[in-house]
Amino acid sequence: MTDYAIAGRNLTMQFGTFRANDDITLAVPAGERRALIGPNGAGKSTLFNLLAGQLRPTSGTVTLLGRDVTRVPAHRRARLGLARTFQLTDLLDELTVRENVQLTLAAQSSAHRVFWRPLGSVGTLAAEADAVLAQWDLGDFGDRLVRELAYGQQRILEIALAMSRNPQVLLLDEPTAGLSPADARKLTGLVAALPRTITVVMIEHDMEVAFTLSDQVSVLQQGRVIAAGTPDEVATDNRVLEAYLGEAADA
Amino acid sequence: MLTWLTHSVNGLAYGSLLFLVASGLTITFGLMRTVNLAHGAFYLIGGYLAYDLATDGTDYWLALLAGVVAAAIGGMIVERAFLHRLAGRELPQIVLTLGVAYIIGDQILANYGGDPVAPPTPPGLEGPVTIGDWIFPKFRLVMIGVAIGLALVVGALLKYTPTGAKVRAAVDDEEIARAVGIRVPLVFLLVFGCGTGLAAFAGVWGGAFTSLAPESGFEVLLLALIVVVVGGLGSIGGALTAAFIVGLVDQYGKVWFPEWALFTLYASVAALLAVRPSGLFGKAVFR
C-alpha cells in the first residue's frame, strides 16, 4: 500500500445529477510516469481536482504517500509533497515571473509569514528564485509580468513552479496543450528529464506525447476507467479505439 | 386571533410591495447581471411623474402609464448611452449607476423640493375592507394579488414566449445568440427598459403606500436588493417567495422585538448569504 505514491480508490464525484467520476480507482506506484487519456468530458480534470484536493469526492478515498488525505485541503496536500499544474494556465498574471517563483518558494518555509519586509529581501528567497529561473531558462524574464510572457513560457513557468517545491508527486494537466510543436518538444524534453524520484501523473491529449512520456496509461471515458496498461497495450485496446473514434465522429 | 391574521396578511402585503420594487431588479440584475443601483431612482421618476400629473388632474391610469413609460425610456437611454459599454464589469456598473442615482435624486430634490409627496391611491382602492370584525386596507389586499399576478406574467413571458427565449439566450451566451441572429443589443435595451419601467410602476403604487421623498430611492433599493439576492438571482418565483418571507420576518420582527428591527433583518440576510451565497432558490454555484 505504501508503495503507491498517490492513489484514488472508488472515487465518485456527483455534480447535481451529473456524475463526473464514477467509482474510479487509480493507484500510481512511486517513481512511475502515468498518463491519463480519454475524450473530452471523460472526467480527467475532475479526477485531478480530487487527487489534488480542489474538490472533495462524493465517496471514495484519496491517499498520498500512504496517508489518507481524503479530507485534507489542497494547501496541506501541497505541503505534504504534491504539486500540480493547471489545464488552462493559471498563474499569478499581474505579478512578475520572479514574484511568482518567490511566492512559491516562500510557501516552503516560514518566509510566507513575514509581513514586514519586502518579499524579495526575505532570507535567501531572492537568490533561490533566481536560481530556479536560471535553471529553467527564464532568467531574462524575471521582471516581466506573467501575462506578458508567451504561452509556451507560461507553461514552462508552471512546471518550474511545481518543481521548485521539490514535490514527490507531480500532477501535470495537459502540459503541452496549446503549444507550438517546437515548444511542445521542448517541454516534453523537460518532463522526460525529471528525476525518477518524482512520481508524475499527467493528463495529455497528444497521444504521441502521452505514450512517449509514460510507463503506464489509464483511459477514462464517461467518468470510468475503461482500460489501463502499458502504452503498447492501450494503443491496441478495442475499447480505447472505440472511445476515440466515437469522439472523432462526434466532432 | 384577528390581530395575528392582520399581522400575517399585512406582512404579505408589505412583501408584495417589496416584490413590486424587486421585480424590475430580478430582470436587470438577476437576469441581465447588470447591477443597477439607480433602480430606486427610476422608482422615484415613476412616482413623482405620476404624482405630478395626477395632482394636475390627469386621469390616474394615464398618469401611471406616463410614469412607467418615462422611466422605461430613461432606463433605455442609460443603457444605450452608458451601461452597454460596461457589460460584465460589475464594479464600473456600480459606480456608474450610483452616479446616475445621485443625479436623478438631486434633480428631483431641485425640482420638487424635499417635502414628501404621495401619488394617489388607485381609484376604487381607497379605504378598508371589512369582513365581520376584521378590517384591512383594500389597497394592500389588492397589492398581494398584483404581486402574484405580476410574478406569473413575467415568469410566463420569460419561459414560454419567443421573446423570453431570446432574452435567456442572449444572457446565457451572447456569442451564440448573435450567431443565431438574435439582435442582442436590442434585446438588452428592451429588457433594461422593462426593468426600469417596472421600477416606475412600483414607484407609483409603492409611493401611494409609503409616500415619496428624494431619499426614498435608496431606502427601497436596499430592500429590493435583499429580496433579489435572498430569492436567488434571476428567479422570479424565488424573488416573490423571498419578498413574502422578508415581509413576514420584518412584520413579526417589528411586533416581537422592535428595537432590533434593523439588526434582525440584515443579520439574517447576511447569515443566509454566508451559508448559501446563491440565495434560497438560486442554482448552486460551481467554482
Binding site: - | G114, K254, A261
Partner: protein
Amino acid sequence: MQFDMAKVRAAAAAGAVLLLVAACGGKDPSAKGAPDGDSKATGSKGSVTVGLLNPATGPFAALGTDVNAGFEAYLKSKGGVLSGYAIKVAKADEGTDAAQGTTKARQLVEQDKAQIVIGLVNSAIAYAVAPYMEDTAKVPLLITVAGADGLTRKQNGNTFRLSYTSSQDSMPLGPYTCKDMGKQKAVVLGLDYSFGWEAAGGFARTYEDAGCQVVQEIYAPLGTQDWGPYVNQVKKDADVVYVVAPGQDGVRLLKAYRDFGVKLPIVAHGATVDETILATEGSSADGVISSLHYTPQIDSPQNKALLDAADKGGNQYLEDGWAAGMTLEAALATIDSDPTPDKIRAALAGVKIEAPRGPLSFDAYGQAVYPVYIRKVEEKDGKRVNSILTSVPNVSQFGTYDPATYLGFPGYEKLKGSWSK
C-alpha cells in the same frame, strides 16, 4: 518663527507639489464670492456677515430650504439692512453628516468671516458644530431647527435656539389631553430615535403629572416604510393615541392608522402634521390635535407680514428663518458700531421680540421661550389647516418645572418605555 516665515512660504510654495491645494481647485478665497445677498444695500452702521448653515441635500433639504427662504424673505422685506447694518449672507450646505457640517461651518467662519452662524437642522451635526463655534471659532450660533434637548442645557453658552427642544412643545399637550379633553388613558406611538423619545417624554411626563396614565408605548424605527404592524398593536381600550412622527414617517403613520380603521382620537407633536406634509397627508390628518409653537392660522400683523412675504404659505421652518432675521435685527439694534461676534453674542441673550409665533425671548440657557398653540387639523376653503384651539404663553424648555429639578431628571432616552409601567 517669524524670521523666516516669508521665505519658508516662498520657497516651499515654489518647490512643492501641492497636490492637496491643487485638488481644492486652487481656489483663491478672495475670488469666491463675497457672500451674496443684497450687494447694493449699504448700512449706516456698517455691515454684518451672516453664515446660513442649512441642509440643501439629504433628507432634511426641504426644511433647510424653508429656513433659508424665511430668513431671506425677512431680509428682503427690510431692504437687506437690519438695524443699520447691511447684511451679507454666506450660505453653505449642512449636508448629511458631521464631517460635512463642520467643514462648512469652518468655511463660513474662517473664510467668509461670518460673525454669526444661523441654521442647523440635524441634531447630530449641531452637536458637532456647536462646540467648534463656542471653543474654537468663538462665534455665536443661532439654531433654527435642530431639536435635541441637550443642545441648550449649558448656561452662558454660545448657543441660542429659536426652535423647540424636542420635548418643549409637547409639554402643554399633556395637561390639555388629560384635563381639557378628559382622556385618561393614552398610548404613545412614535419614532424610535432621540427626537421621538424626547417629544413623547415631554408629553408623557406632563400627562402623567396631570393625573392620567400612559398605558402603552410603541416605537418604530426612523424611516419605517410600513406602519401597519405598529398601528395594529394599539390597545383598543385606551382613550387617545399620542403620535410623534415628523416628515415622511408622519405621512405613512397616519395613512396606516386610518387604513386599518383604528378609531382612537389622535393627539400629536405638531411636527407630525405641520404644513410641509399636511397636504400630502390629506384626509388622514383630519381631526388630529397637536401642539406646536406656530401655525399659519395665527392672526397677528407679524404673522401676516410673514405670510405675505413667503409665496409658499407659512410653516414652522419659514417662521424659524423669519424669526431668526427678527432676532438678529433686535440684537444688532443694541450695537452701535463694530458688531463683533462677542457683541452679537452678548446682545442675543437680551433679545425680546414679537415674532409671528408671538412674544419670544431667550432663557438663561439660550433656549427660546414662546407661546405654544394647541391646534386641530380642519378643512378650510378646500385646504387643510391647523386651527388654533387655545394657546399657552411663555412655554420654556422646562415646561412648568423648576430648571434645577428638571435638569436632575434622567434623560428621556433612559425613560423611554418606562412611562407605561
